[in-house]
Amino acid sequence: MSILINKNTRVVVQGITGKQGSFHTKEMMNYGTNIVAGVTPGRGGMEVEGIPVFDTVAEAIEKQQADASVIFVPAPLAKEAAFEAIGAGIKVLVIVTEHIPFHDALQIVDYSVKKNVVQIGPNSFGICSAGQAKIGIPPNSIFTPGPVGVVSRSGTLTYEIVSNLSLRGVGQTTCLGLGGDSVVGLSFVDILRLFEKDNETRAVVLIGEIGGRQEEEASIYIKSMTKPVVGYIAGKSAPPGKRMGHAGAIIERGAGGFKSKVESLKQAGVKVAEIPSQVADYVADLLKR
């Protein structure tokens, strides 16, 4: 089992003819993802890695029944690409592109909500249902199928932790990156709900960071969850007013600090790891019970 995507998910790659797009198309295919189409305006009729390229997402849906899309197009064109996917009827949309103006993201999110689209990102590593399908850019090698759901705001830190989990023999149902920007499609709560409902998921790892208040909001929901949650929050040593790489990782105007997040999670019964490698320890412990 898994959430949101599985081996039957039919994926279109927007920006497939670009460097990133073509590289990750191959990687996703290597993982077993059912890539059915690519879209690059003006390149209809081409093939990339044996995958047919179309001029529009609507054509990719019409001819290849795509139901998910991943966006690799450059930031200035990403809003239009997202609108195209949402408008054409894509159900799961992953936006990998970084540096999309957040005013564009506000509009993308709004349209996604209106059209009931699960929109992941911008600036997300994507989503991987272990052993089934990967939409996005995380390394294929780190995932192992198993009972843990992982949801995170960052990329490499998540790879580090998932890798630890796999090395300890703790596999994953689905791992999902919400995206590091200040405005992204989903929040922790949305994904926690799905993991709570998913039969195969027995525990959840939540990897948060400073900035915003979604960890605090997640804590409220976690109180009602039946499944255990292990957390890690990055940014303990970050000074206020500074953007720590991610556009969303900033303590400003008294909000978004480390302490409030950790305390909220702890109050909700989350076991919060102090250093990344503890996460796998905690999860392994929990699953033994």
């Binding site: 930031a75 200035p76 540096h99 999309i100 103006p101 957040f102 005013h103 564009d104 993201a105 506000l106 509009q107 999110v109 709004d110 590593f125 850019i137 995380p138 390394p139 090698s141 780190i142 995170s152 705001r153 960052s154 990329g155 490499t156 830190l157 998540t158 790879y159 580090e160 890798s163 590091g180 200040s182 405005v183 992204v184 929040s187 990897i207 960071e209 400073i210 900035g211 915003g212 208040r213 979604q214 909001e217 990055a234 940014g235 303990k236 040593s237 970050a238 000074p239 500074k242 953007r243 720590m244 790489g245 991610h246 556009a247 990782a249 105007r253 008294g254 102090e274 250093i275 990344p276």
Partner: protein, 381 residues
């Protein structure tokens, strides 16, 4: 990108937001000319990109020409919270009957623009208790109309003409928020002076990612030395006050690395995210920059995913060939092409850790004065 108060006010003025009379001066002479034009009393406000200017002595008042000259001479060229004051804004000093706060930003949880306002103006909004803060979420496909402004005004206790004036002000602020891809449009305090509402201060931050859409906006040239250098290289860098320079790949893991060093008793010198999938060249540039900051230890923490560990090793060697590292290197490498990387490093008498924790402990130990290892690097402090 933050704009100086006077630049923010220039943008406000173009949108029709009411402001005090004023002008910008780079010399006491210029300040005097502006003051004469306005009439007394006046305010002299240092233009630096930091809050709390008043408390730090960066804002002065003058009742006559002598005072203008004295105060502007004192302020211009002085250092304020680490920033040199190059310009002052000379403005009429208003009679203040009441101070309000109003700002527009995006709420990252609601994923919508949000208007915050308070009748407790003049202090930082984080110091105002929740009950005095009015929040209104904006539907981005609808925008802000007069009724939304009226509704906020009502909650601030305004009526009649003042309500309408406030409402029109909020519409203008929202227009600017959208037009300039602003992160923050803030007026604090917004003052009532007689029957008029006037923006006494102005903050205007623009999304860096959207600057390409605003070629006419000025570009920031003020900031910490290394942050500006890193920015020029396209790197995500934050200056900290420690002695262990850090480079990792990814914002989250870089933050986690700093945290780990701190937990182990170390003091990170910076945040530097080399990015996911960075190639040899940019990584070498990042490393050179770190070396230039003359830290006690350089800690490289790489989880190879798209980033190839052998590329990291090559970047290290590339720097080593042209510059001497002024501090010991602690390298942690794991993931994609890990073995190739180790081989390359060993051939050059370098080694790498596999575990992030072990490596962090080593870096902290090397930086400790008690470790007996200070001066291992070749740099002069």
């Amino acid at each position: 990108m933050k704009l100086y108060e006077y630049l923010a006010k220039g943008i406000f003025r173009a949108e029709g937001i009411p402001l005090p009379k004023g002008g910008i001066a780079q010399t006491p002479e210029e300040a005097l000319i502006i003051a004469r034009d306005i009439g007394f009393p006046i305010a002299i406000k240092s233009q630096v990109l930091t809050g709390g200017r008043g408390k730090a002595g960066g804002i002065a008042f003058a009742n006559n020409e002598n005072e203008v000259t004295n105060e502007s001479t004192r302020i211009l060229g002085s250092m304020l919270k680490g920033f040199k004051v190059e310009k002052v804004l000379v403005e009429e000093k208003l009679t203040i009957d009441k101070e309000y706060y109003v700002s527009i930003t995006a709420d990252s949880f609601l994923k919508k623009p949000i208007i915050l306002a308070s009748s407790q103006g003049g202090v930082d909004i984080e110091d105002v208790s929740e009950e005095y803060i009015v929040k209104k979420v904006v539907d981005i496909d609808i925008g802000v109309y007069a009724y939304l402004g009226r509704e906020i005004a009502r909650k601030l206790g305004m009526q009649g003409d003042l309500m309408n004036e406030f409402s029109s002000l909020v519409i203008k602020m929202y227009n600017l928020f959208r037009k300039y891809d602003a992160e923050l449009v803030e007026i604090n305090p917004l003052v009532r002076s007689g029957d008029k509402l006037i923006a006494l201060d102005a903050r205007f931050n623009v999304d860096d990612d959207a600057l390409y859409r605003h070629p006419n906006l000025p570009r920031l040239t003020e900031g910490e030395e290394w942050e500006l250098k890193a920015k020029a290289l396209g790197l995500s860098y934050v200056q900290l006050d420690g002695d262990i320079a850090v480079m990792a790949n990814g914002a989250g893991i870089t933050m986690a690395t700093l945290d780990l060093l701190a937990i182990f008793g170390g003091r990170p010198a910076n945040f530097l995210d080399a990015g996911g999938g960075a190639a040899v060249e940019p990584m070498a540039k990042a490393l050179s920059l770190l070396n230039d900051t003359k830290p006690k230890v350089i800690f490289i923490n790489i989880f190879g995913g798209i980033t190839r560990c052998d590329d990291v090793a090559r970047a290290i060697l590339k720097v080593k060939k042209t510059t001497d590292f002024c501090a010991p290197l602690v390298i942690r490498l794991t993931g994609t092409r890990e073995e190739e990387a180790i081989t390359v490093l060993q051939e050059n008498n370098l080694s790498a850790y596999k575990s992030m924790e072990e490596a962090a402990r080593k870096a902290v130990a090397l930086a400790k004065p008690a470790s007996g290892l200070e001066g291992v690097g070749k740099c002069q402090y």
